[in-house]
């Protein structure tokens, strides 16, 4: 591997998001257990937040990684960002009532995005020829995709509670 940095960075980002979500989820769950309250809603919120945070990060990160480091390294780093949270996703899904298929589908969407977006970033760099312009374009496109993910995520949460 000539450029291991993006994979480490992706993994670090994924772990940071997962650790923040796990801390909030476990603390809130402990409080709920102490007061004999339900924990399913907390787990559902943790799952939704974890998915949304990774989606928001993934769009600009994967596009830029593809543009800067190529499709291969970009894909590895994007997948690391997604997969790093899986243990937390699994634990929260075990504590929630959200259908397992919905959780799996959400992860598949992130994985597909992690595979496709670096290739798009690499393609943009090839089309625009200038790395600086390509990175700027990837940042703008990633921001737009993140905004779309945010709006879609809020709409999804509104519909599904």
């Amino acid at each position: 591997m000539s450029d291991p940095l993006p994979t480490r960075l992706g993994m670090l980002l994924g772990l940071a998001v997962a650790a923040a979500a796990a801390t909030w989820w476990l603390a809130a769950t402990r409080l709920a257990l102490g007061q004999a309250m339900g924990t399913a809603g907390i787990a559902a919120s943790a799952l939704a937040g974890l998915w949304l945070a990774r989606a928001l990060l993934l769009a600009p990160f994967a596009l830029r990684a593809g543009a800067l480091h190529g499709r291969r390294h970009g894909t590895a780093s994007s997948l690391a960002l997604v997969i790093a949270a899986w243990p937390v996703v699994l634990a929260a899904a075990s504590a929630g009532t959200r259908p397992a298929m919905g959780v799996v589908l959400g992860e598949i969407i992130l994985l597909v995005a992690g595979l496709v977006l670096p290739a798009v970033g690499q393609g943009l760099r090839a089309v625009l020829r200038s790395p600086a312009t390509a990175v700027l374009a990837c940042t703008v496109l990633g921001g737009a995709l993140a905004a779309a993910a945010w709006l879609w995520g809020n709409a999804w949460t509104g519909v599904n509670g």
Partner: protein, 485 residues
């Protein structure tokens, strides 16, 4: 009516075994099909097969279902008496090998008014103001004390009493012990002695009369005596905190994962290794979640009036799930019929057809989610308590009975203090102002159940009659004393 041998429901379910004969299923609710919404009633189930039959019978009453295997030889009959939650519709499913699942429904008559069960062989009318009267024959009476929850008062004459079979008599005695309102018309002296000796609440809810009118008048008079309020889960919230053993385990597993992942990032740049760490951690987590055994808890809380011969108990058997899916909770023998503590919660109770006893209860559960089975009943006890206030803020607590007391706690004035073991006739003098704050959840629960301005004595109990009780089960007997005795 049961006694006339005419089942309310006779189902010739079309599920035919190989020989082609359809098993006959008869469902006969107790109390002539009457009950109150959400209470417990009993259904008699009879399955008769003309050919060898193997399958499963399931009775669904709202969120509760009772399931039992059916394995019958040709000409054999299966008889069960099953306590169920009273719902407007009972659904019966029969699955027989080689045949599609057959489904039938049966309606219960649910009364919003209090129910008066009248088992009068003379056929005399019985009326009690505000009650709806249900005429009963002996076979309408249930064989489970829990099913007496369906009626609010009962009037029986001697002929009906004599016609009861031993299980029905046992259930009636259990109902009397649970402070059920019962009026007996000209009862045989022996029967009266047995019931009066077993009756709870100082037998204030058990009356008799020489005529139906007299018995009903006394029953009407007994309505002025408030029924004893059983402790609720809210009263004992401090004792019934759900077990949280899964939480530190999850914290430990996730902390370990984050630690290993941080080390991996530090010491390796291989994308394969970095991607494998969370995947392997996920696999390990799933395996651990399935391997962790839920830790069951059992809390039994009993209460008895001073000098009462019967104590009423409530038991909570709780556990927490570790994975999403069916969580099977073993039913503890010796505590009575189980029910879900949350009446809205779906529970599937598996019944051993040979013994007619529940074996385990299945709940849909998930990680951290507590599930609980509730039991209630009574047991004989004798704690004759005498409390006399003395000068100088002192109290004399005397064992006025014939059995020794173990050491316990006295709750008074919002504090507790140790009560030494007392032999029969012995007494202890305690200072009211030397109490201390409750040291544990049981003492806090005792204070919550202490009558205002009164006292309460709390003793730990041994769970010898529950052989499969969890190791850390706890049981308590509280004797509230409203005023000096």
């Amino acid at each position: 009516m049961r006694g006339l041998g005419i089942p309310l429901l006779a189902l010739a379910l079309s599920a035919a075994p190989a020989a082609g004969a359809a098993p006959q299923v008869e469902l006969t609710p107790a109390w002539a099909g009457w009950s109150r919404p959400g209470r417990v009633t009993e259904v008699g189930v009879r399955v008769r097969a003309d050919a060898a039959t193997s399958g499963t019978l399931e009775i669904v009453a709202g969120p509760q279902s009772v399931r039992t295997p059916v394995n019958l030889a040709a000409g054999e009959t299966l008889r069960l008496e099953v306590p169920v939650v009273s719902t407007a519709i009972l659904e019966i499913f029969l699955e027989v090998e080689g045949a599609p699942r057959a489904r039938r429904e049966h309606a219960l008559a649910l009364s919003e008014s209090p129910l008066l069960g009248a088992g009068l062989a003379s056929g005399q009318a019985a009326r009690l103001e505000g009650f709806h009267t249900v005429a009963l024959v002996p076979a309408d009476l249930p064989r489970s004390a829990a099913a007496y929850a369906s009626v609010d008062a009962l009037v029986l004459d001697a002929a009906t009493l004599r016609a009861l079979d031993p299980p029905q008599l046992g259930a009636l005695i259990g109902h009397a012990a649970a402070c059920g309102r019962i009026a007996l018309v000209s009862p045989d002296p022996g029967a009266w002695r047995v019931l009066e000796g077993a009756a709870g609440c100082g037998a204030r809810m058990l009356v008799n009369g020489e005529s139906v009118a007299e018995a009903l008048a006394r029953l009407q008079g007994s309505l002025a005596v408030p029924a004893a309020s059983a402790p609720s889960a809210a009263d004992l919230a401090a004792l019934l905190r759900p077990d949280a053993t899964a939480w530190p385990r999850i914290v430990a597993v996730l902390a370990t994962f984050f630690g290993i992942a941080a080390l991996a990032i530090t010491f390796t740049a291989s994308p394969i290794v970095l991607l494998l760490v969370p995947v392997l951690a996920s696999v390990v987590l799933v395996a651990l979640l399935h391997a962790w055994e839920p830790r069951p808890r059992l809390v039994v809380w009993a209460e008895a009036e001073p000098s009462a011969r019967v104590a009423q108990y409530q038991a909570w058997q709780s556990t927490s799930g570790t994975v999403r899916g069916l969580l099977e909770v073993p039913v503890l023998a010796g505590l009575g019929p189980p029910r879900s503590c949350d009446p809205q919660r779906r529970v599937r109770i598996a019944l051993d057809a040979d013994r007619g006893q529940p074996v385990h209860a299945g709940f849909d559960s998930r990680l951290f989610e507590p599930v609980a089975l509730c039991y209630s009943g009574n047991f004989p006890v004798m704690r004759a308590v005498s409390i006399t206030p003395l000068e100088g803020g002192r109290l004399e607590v005397r064992n006025a009975g014939t059995l020794a007391w173990p050491a316990g706690l006295l709750a008074v004035g919002g504090t507790v203090q140790d009560l030494p073991a007392l032999d029969p006739g012995a007494s202890a003098t305690l200072h009211v102002d030397r109490g201390r704050p409750p040291p544990d959840a049981a003492a806090r629960a005792a204070l919550a159940r202490t009558p205002y301005g009164g006292y309460a004595l709390l003793w730990p109990l041994q769970l010898d009659t529950v052989p499969d009780a969890p190791a850390d089960a706890s049981a308590w007997l509280l004797v509230p004393v409203a005023e000096p005795t």
